[in-house]
Symmetry: C3
């Protein structure tokens, strides 16, 4: 079982910042397998980072260390932290990037199994810590130590008041109507909402539900291939969220849907 | 000899889809070395994916599993498949992305050594298969099982009617003239045609050949450095295809050549 | 201690060129860990490649082989080389991409520990070497041989007249004033100059120094969080260079600073 570390950052791939963090980690934990998730989180987009950490978690072995460096508050009072849940381990800034995994794990597991520490023990950092690149000087070395066997509690003082993001839960306006928002737009232009399959189950059978987006409404289909090329559709995506897409097209560009756009699902029958 | 898996997709690198597939594969085959080829195949560009699979093949050890997920027909009737040839192994959709490696291997090897199966045994998939992300639920796990030692034939039923792409072979209009097309444009703007060195050999000695592109003709040189900075040139590229380039410049932008542009080579002597 | 190879190129990530080089290296040295630094060096931007090689060096173990393929002169007289210093090993073209690591190592170590060879022994190349893709045919195989234990001197003839870049040192116009230039702009739009903390120390205490950029001047702060959101600032970056940034913004776009822009630091007291 190799030490496994995933990387999620907003560093882009033009500079050597990511390479430098990899060098720091391999110097401490030469056996580590480093897995790039993405370095194209929008600059300082904490929400997208939180969704990415949550999205990766169920698919990696629980001993994996997920390093997330989206850190607009570097050098300020924001705390550097590490977390451990039954599903994974995490290192990065306490600014909400771990809000979703923390909340979810707290709901699902006893508190003894969902623990966090403030990284306040400099033995696990680089000897000199810059004011601007904690990814290199603090988070990468701590992730490498964690991956190579250091216990979470050795890394610092236990805390449990992590910063979480305002939960964007959809709202039931009536027993037969729920309103949510687009919370993520992917590379294909698919627009993913915060409405989950479970929410829709409250409304009624899926064939009775209609999705209202600006200027049109849509039934909910099983897969892209259920509509003609270029047609819009709504479906439950591969992670259980309701999404709006265009078959072999780009819903974000062609339907005028953006991050934050309201989406309403209504039972009509 | 580590299990080796390459990844070629049109997923881009902004989302966690690639990371998720990596987690799925490492959960099944923890020893696998995962090699990103590219995730920037144009959305649903099956031709480019087929060229990428063909381009990688000769340079990797034959035990490598090449995972290719460019899958506009996900959720439709298109078949999920795996292939094995003396040069490599492949997993992905049967939509033409393996058309070139399949045809080439069939021409060069006895049929017993070039085999394909329909992925119809769910034991090698994730327990639940979504309608929209077979990369995660079917192709990644099958690639991981193949890499970790499962035999091709265990994965499903033998088939041999794979979908191939219309072959874009160049046409000899006269014994001294061949006409082809630009089939790929790379990051540098180099425009690669479907005319190969072998085709040119039929026309005559290379120094007697001229390449006709819109608005100009070019002799064929050995390398970029044979012409001045910024000058256009034609040469046999590193994979044996005739290409049009601009020294330290971008032929696609400055010569008005695009995907599909005709290119004509004539013997003049 | 695994063989470790980093990759820095201007190949982009759309084509299979990088994947092909990885296949070549893993075929020669199956144990190698391949670490992507960046493939987004600007096409043929030797300066940026030289800065990247220098930036990576201190963070990787000294046995690491840094492969750098930014090679506008491929196929011309430019020499293929490999280097070894107490801090790392390097393979690529002799066009200046190793100018900074070479000069720095020569200043800091005895010449016996800072050695370079011309790659003139074809035993370590691919059997056929194309005129246009030495990354695949010469540099990748040599890097893999070096990583797997071949001694530097076995690879070719010793040389010591490497091409270096014109040193862009800042100039002291007065004992209290230094003028430099922006030499790198990163993904966040931070504008990094060639003025180092050491240069500033000559001018006087940091709180007495002012940084003059077009249309404004700035004091030097410790970190981004010392100024309000959206405000410009100057600071000593994580690698010791003076840089101009905008807190949670893009200095390159909003301050009209570009590569080559002059930046002047003056003691005012």
């Amino acid at each position: 079982m190799y030490p496994l570390i995933t990387l999620t950052t907003d560093f882009g791939t033009h500079d050597s910042y990511v390479g430098i963090m990899k060098g720091v980690m391999l110097s401490i934990c030469p056996d580590a397998r480093l897995i790039d998730n993405t370095h194209h989180i929008g600059p300082q987009d904490i929400n997208a980072a939180a969704l990415a950490a949550q999205a990766l978690t169920p698919y990696f072995p629980p001993h994996t260390v997920h390093l997330v460096v989206v850190d607009p508050g570097v050098g300020s009072e924001r705390r550097p932290i590490a977390l451990e849940t039954p599903q994974g381990r995490y290192v990065g800034p306490d600014n909400g990037v771990f809000g979703l995994v923390w909340q979810q794990a707290r709901e699902q597991h006893p508190p003894t199994q969902v623990r966090a520490v403030l990284l306040d023990d400099p033995r696990f950092w680089r000897p000199e810590v810059s004011a601007t690149f904690h990814g290199r000087d603090m988070f990468a070395p701590v992730a490498a130590h964690l991956a190579s066997g250091t216990a979470l509690d050795a890394l610092g003082t236990r805390i449990d008041d992590l910063i979480t993001l305002p939960i964007h839960a959809p709202v039931f306006e009536m027993p037969t109507q729920v309103v949510g928002r687009i919370i993520y737009i992917d590379h294909f232009g698919n627009c993913i909402s915060n409405i989950r399959a479970e929410h829709l189950a409250h409304l009624g059978p899926i064939e009775d539900l209609y999705v209202f987006i600006p200027d049109r409404w849509l039934g909910i289909v099983q897969t892209y291939a259920n509509v003609p090329q270029g047609a819009p559709l709504a479906l439950i995506g591969s992670d259980g969220y309701l999404e709006v897409a265009v078959r072999n097209g780009n819903a974000n560009q062609s339907l005028g849907i953006a991050l934050g756009t309201e989406i309403r699902v209504r039972r009509v029958s």
